[in-house]
Amino acid sequence: MSEPAPAAARPTEEEPRRDDERTEQSDEQPTETPSTPTTGADAAIAALTAAGVEHVFGVQGGAIMPVYDALAEAEAAPTHVTMAHEQAAAHAADAYGQVTGEPGVCMATSGPGATNLVTGIADADMDSDPVVALTGQVPTAFLGNDAFQETDTLGVTRPITKQNYVAGEADAVGPSVGEAVELAGAGRPGPTLVDLPKDATTAETTGDEAPEAELPEYYEAPEFAEESAVDAAADALARAERPLVLAGGGVVKAEASEELRAFVEAFDVPVVTTMPGIGAVPEDDDRCLSFAGMHGTGAANMAVSHTDCLFAIGTRFDDRLTGGVETFAPEAEVIHADIDAAEISKNVEADYPLVGDAAAVVEQVHEAFAERAADATERYADWREQCHEWEEQYPMTYAAPDEEPLKPQFVVEAADAATPDDAIVTTGVGQHQMWAAQYWTYRDPRCWVSSHGLGTMGYGLPAAIGAKVAAPDREVVCFEGDGSFMMTLQELSVAARENLDVTVIVLNNEAIGMVRQWQDAFFEGRHTASEYGWMPEFEPIAEAFGAKGFTLEGYDDVADTLEAAFAHDGPSVVDAQIDPGENVYPMVPSGGDNSGFALSEGQL
C-alpha cells in the first residue's frame, strides 16, 4: 500500500468548500446549482458526470484514492464497479463501450495498476473501441525519480492510445478528462488515458465551474465524403459484374447498419462482414454470406476472391481477413469508405477512397448509385446465383453428433436457440471464439463482443460483466475456452457480488486448443505446452466464487443444462466437456489465399 492521501486532500468541515462560500456571497445563485468542484479529483468526477458517464470499472490504490474519494463524495457520480484485476476493468469498460456506443471508463492506480490496464487498452486500441482510462500517478515532484509505484504510464501507453494526457495540476484535470471522454468517442473511436498525479487531484482548483468538454483544437472527423469521389465509386459499382459489400466493425461503430441494410436490399448485392463487423447485416439475410477471413465461411471467402468490385466500409484490412494481400480480392476495384484517412490504402490499395462517416457515406453512395443502377440488379443476377451455389457447396456443418463427446458447435447452436435474438455474446480467444462466431446466427449489431485485433485470451468474462452492466435487460452469454477462462476467472467474484446474470459456457477441451490445432497442422503434431495434464474443475470453482456451476458431458443434457443456467438469476458457469479433438474449419493458412481455404487438416 502507498501512503494514504495527505490530510490536505479534501477540505474539512471547518474549511468550507469554495462553492459554499460563493453561494453565500451571491443571492441570485439558485440553490440547486450543482456544487462546484474544489479539488482536481472532484473535477475529474464532475467531468465524467457532465459527459454522461454512468458506470466506471476499476480497482483502488494509493495514487488514485483521491479520485475514488471524490466519487464517493459527489452528489451525482457514476456508479463504480470494483473489479478483481485492472485488466478486467479495461475489458469491462471496452465491452460497455461496444454495447452502448458511449465511452466505457476504467480507473486504476499508478504503477502496477496502470500497467495491468495495458492489455485492455491495447485491445481497445486495436478494435477501435471507445475507452477512457484514468490512472493515478505519483505526485509531480516525484515524477521521473522511480518513486514507489511509479511507471511512465504516458510513455507506456502512448503507442496504444488515441491520445493520452498528464494532468499536471488541479486545473488541468477537468478539461483533460472532459477532452479524453470526447475524443474517445469521436470520429474513429479509440482509447484515451489521463494520468493524474496525486498532487493534482488533491489540490484545490481555481476554476469556477466544470468547463464544457471540448475536442482538441485541430481534431477533425469528416462526415461526408467528397462528391466527386462518391460519383467515381458509384460509376465503378455500376460497371461491376460481381460487386460485393464488405462490412467492417466501423459499420457497427458508426451506427451505419440501417443505411447499409437499405443499400444491400435496394440493389440486391451480396455482402460479407469482417469478424468485428459481425451483426452489421443480419446473418440470416439471403444476401449475407457471413464473415470472411481465416475462419470465415467458404462462400464469403470465394466471394471475396472473385468479386470485381469490393465496397469495403469501416475495415482496416487486417491480415486475418486478407490472408496474403497479393491474393486478396485480386480482381477487384476497391471502394474503401473509412472515417480514418490513414486506413485508406494502408494494407490494400483503394481505387476509390471515401473518407467520412460510414452512415453518411453509405447514404451518399446509395443515392449516387441509384441514378446509375437502372440495369445493375439484373446484371448481378448471375453473381448472386454463384454466391448461393458457394453457400450450398460449403455449408457450415460438423460431423453429426453421436453420443459423446460433445461437439462444441452443437453447444453454440443450442445456446443460440435457447436465447432471445438480442442476446449479447462475448468470448475469449481461441477455437471457442471461432465456433461462437461461426455457429451463432447474429442478426443485429452490438450483439457480438470479442477481442479481434489483439486476440486477448481472458477477454470474455470481464467483457460479459461490462456488457451486462451496459444492458442489464439483455441475456449475456460468454463463451470461453478453458485456457482463456483461467486467465480472468477471478472476475466471477465480481459477477457474483454484483449479481450479474451472465452465463459463461466453457468449451472445455482441456487444452489451449487453437494452439494445438496449429501444432497439428504446422508443427507435426508436437503438442508442446498446449495440453493441460491437469485441470481444476470449473463447477466447484464457480460455486466457490458464488456463481452457479454446471457440468455438461452428453448431448442429452445440453438443452436442460443450458436452460437451467440461463434461468439462474445470477452468474452461472457451464463446464461443457467437448470433444478435445475437434478443430476449427474452414481455415485459410496465415498469409494464404482466401480461396484456398482448407476444409480439413489434410487440405492444409
Binding site: M302, P330, E331, A342, Q393, R516, G596, S600
Partner: protein, 244 residues
C-alpha cells in the same frame, strides 16, 4: 477435484471426423489476378513492387511536451524508412515544425503523411516539392596540420571557421544533404577528429506555404519577434543553428 488425462488420449484424433464438405482447394476455381505486396492491383505478368524514393515531409505540430516522442514512436513502430527528423520552434509559440526525410515507395510516403496527420497534436502535414529549400548543418573538427589547406577547402565549401586552436580547426558547413556530404568528404583528407550534423530543415520555395495551416496560422497570430526568442524547443533533438 481434478481430472487427469494421459498424453495419449489427446493424440488419438480421428482426422476423418473433422473437416467440412465441399470441393477441396485444388478443385476450386481460383482467381488469376494479383496485387503487389503493397496491396496494389497489378498486371500478373509485371514486376510487382514500387521503388522507394527519397522525399521531405513537413509537419506543423502543437508545441507541447510529448509530440516528438509521439512522432518518433510512430515512425519506429510503423517501420518507416526515415533518414532524419528535426524539430524546432516557429515564430508562433504554440507551434513547432518537424521536418522528416524519408525513403519509401509511393504508398509508404502517403502512409507517413496520413499517419502523421492522424496524431492529435499534429496540425498540418505536407510533402514538399523537389524545389523546396532544404538545409543541413554539420560542425566538424579537423586536424590543423596544414592550416592553409584546411582554409582552402573551407573556402571551397563556404564553410565558416568557428574555432581554431593549436591542433584543431572547427568548421561549420551548411547546405543540402549532398553538399554537406561532399564537404565532409573533402575535409576527410585532413582527418576529421569529430563530427556532428543535424537532419534536414526545409521550407517550401517562394510564396508557397509549407503546410496548409501556415496561412491561417499567420493570420491568427501575427509574427512577433519576441515570441521567437521565448519559444523553447519542443524537446530533445531540435535543429538549432546557434552561430556564436
Amino acid at each position: 477435484m481434478s481430472r487427469e488425462r494421459t498424453g495419449g488420449e489427446f493424440a488419438d484424433r480421428d482426422t476423418d471426423r473433422d473437416g467440412l464438405q465441399g470441393p477441396g482447394p485444388d478443385e476450386r476455381e481460383r482467381p488469376s489476378g494479383r496485387r503487389s505486396k503493397e496491396g496494389v492491383r497489378v498486371d500478373p505478368e509485371a514486376e510487382a513492387s514500387h521503388p522507394a524514393r527519397r522525399t521531405t515531409i513537413s509537419a506543423l505540430v502543437k508545441h507541447e511536451p510529448g509530440v516528438l516522442a509521439e512522432v518518433a514512436g510512430l515512425v519506429s513502430r510503423r517501420r518507416f524508412d526515415i533518414d532524419s527528423l528535426t524539430v524546432g520552434p516557429t515564430t508562433n509559440p504554440e507551434t513547432a515544425r518537424m521536418t522528416l526525410t524519408i525513403e519509401e515507395p509511393e504508398p509508404g510516403v502517403r502512409q507517413v503523411e496520413k499517419q502523421l496527420e492522424k496524431l492529435v497534436p499534429v496540425i498540418s502535414v505536407r510533402e514538399l516539392g523537389r524545389d523546396a529549400v532544404r538545409r543541413e548543418l554539420a560542425v566538424l573538427k579537423v586536424h590543423d596540420d596544414d592550416p592553409a589547406a584546411v582554409e582552402a577547402v573551407a573556402e571551397m565549401f563556404d564553410a565558416r571557421t568557428l574555432d581554431a586552436e593549436p591542433g584543431t580547426v572547427t568548421v561549420e558547413v551548411t547546405g543540402s544533404s549532398a553538399e554537406v556530404d561532399r564537404a565532409i568528404e573533402a575535409f576527410q583528407r585532413f582527418g576529421v577528429r569529430e563530427l556532428t550534423r543535424t537532419g534536414t530543415a526545409a521550407l517550401a520555395r517562394g510564396n508557397e506555404w509549407t503546410t496548409d495551416a501556415e496561412e491561417e496560422r499567420y493570420e491568427r497570430q501575427p509574427v512577433d519577434a519576441a515570441a521567437t526568442d521565448s519559444a523553447s524547443a519542443t524537446e530533445g533533438a531540435e535543429a538549432h543553428t546557434d552561430d556564436d
